[in-house]
Amino acid sequence: MSYKTNTQVWDETELVLGLKEKDEEAYRELVRQYQAKLFRIAYGITLDREESSDIVQDVLLRVYQHIHTFKGDSKFYFWLRRITINMCLNWHRRWKRRFRWRHQPLEKGEGENVMELGTESYSPETLYREKELEKILQEGLKTIPEDARTVFILKEMEGLSYEDIAGILKINKGTVSSRIFYARQKLKRSISSMLDQGETE
């Protein structure tokens, strides 16, 4: 049986079929099509690039190995997304993550290169302000408890409805609503308090 070459677009059904037949080109396509999307979700939840990369690789590998368990009653991407979220929230990973954060609060490369040379469109001041905002956002996101952040990220990055989020995380719609609200308040507050601190320094 011949499969698609690189330049052709695979539709979901063909991709799943190819994966079920352990076609290497189908696997390549799986990685290419979905890794960036899944990475964004994983990063939103874990705020850790290394771990997100780990999670995405684990998800894609397991999908390849367990593709026969995909029943096709939801979109393939929804299935991948659900596995990714579950993998991020796996308590073994959460535990290790919490531990790492306590002992190395900053991700490598964070807050570095603040004093890059300015270009015409990016004056040193603009660049500095952008870097500062980036740092503040990152720290602000970290202050949101993981449960609330997960809900918030699924809303912001995936644009999911409260009902869909509730279904994925097996919580009430009301809980989704209050966690999103809480995450926003918390983030807003940490951003403004960090901005205030910056001004008084």
Partner: protein, 162 residues
């Protein structure tokens, strides 16, 4: 300028922003927001925050996807070992795991019993092993004692697709 009324509920504005209100409520909240500067400001702040978060996360995800692809393809090529070999590997893995998990559960019991409450934040992860059958994390606690945590987390795709 209108005073903030009891309509000026930030929770409602947040749900309005997410398009999660009933159609009837939505229309009245929409009218209210249009005439209320304080809610207008809340809504604008939500828009800004949302944009900033999306830009931020997307920016930080600018990672080396090509190398992930390469390492994944290498892994599946390795996985394509003959069936007999795979069975042997699985057997070997279990032989190691069973004694380790037994020791781990014993230790876990030991420390649950003997640790005084409210102390001993772990200070280092000594080793962490993840297997198909279970995972083990060995941590060091401040009094240089070692604790082993054993996680039995078999991958179950059925469970992941409830």
């Amino acid at each position: 300028m209108k005073k903030p009324s009891r309509n000026c509920d930030p929770v409602i504005v947040s749900r309005f922003f997410d398009k999660e209100l009933d159609p009837a409520d939505n229309a009245s909240v929409d009218r209210h927001i249009n005439s209320c500067p304080s809610c207008r400001k809340m809504l604008d702040d939500l828009k800004t925050l949302s944009r900033q978060v999306r830009t931020h996360i997307t920016g930080r995800c600018d990672t080396d996807h090509a190398s992930i692809e390469k390492s994944l393809l290498e892994t599946i090529c390795k996985k394509k070992t003959p069936f007999g070999e795979r069975v042997k590997e699985a057997m070997l893995a279990k032989k190691v795991w069973i004694p380790v998990t037994a020791a781990a559960s014993l230790l876990l019991v030991f420390f649950t019993v003997f640790q005084s409450p409210g102390v001993s934040e772990p200070s280092a992860i000594i080793a962490s092993l993840s297997g198909d059958v279970s995972s083990v994390v060995i941590i060091e606690t401040p009094r240089t004692r070692q604790t082993i945590l054993w996680f039995n987390e078999e991958f179950n795709p059925e469970r992941l697709d409830l």
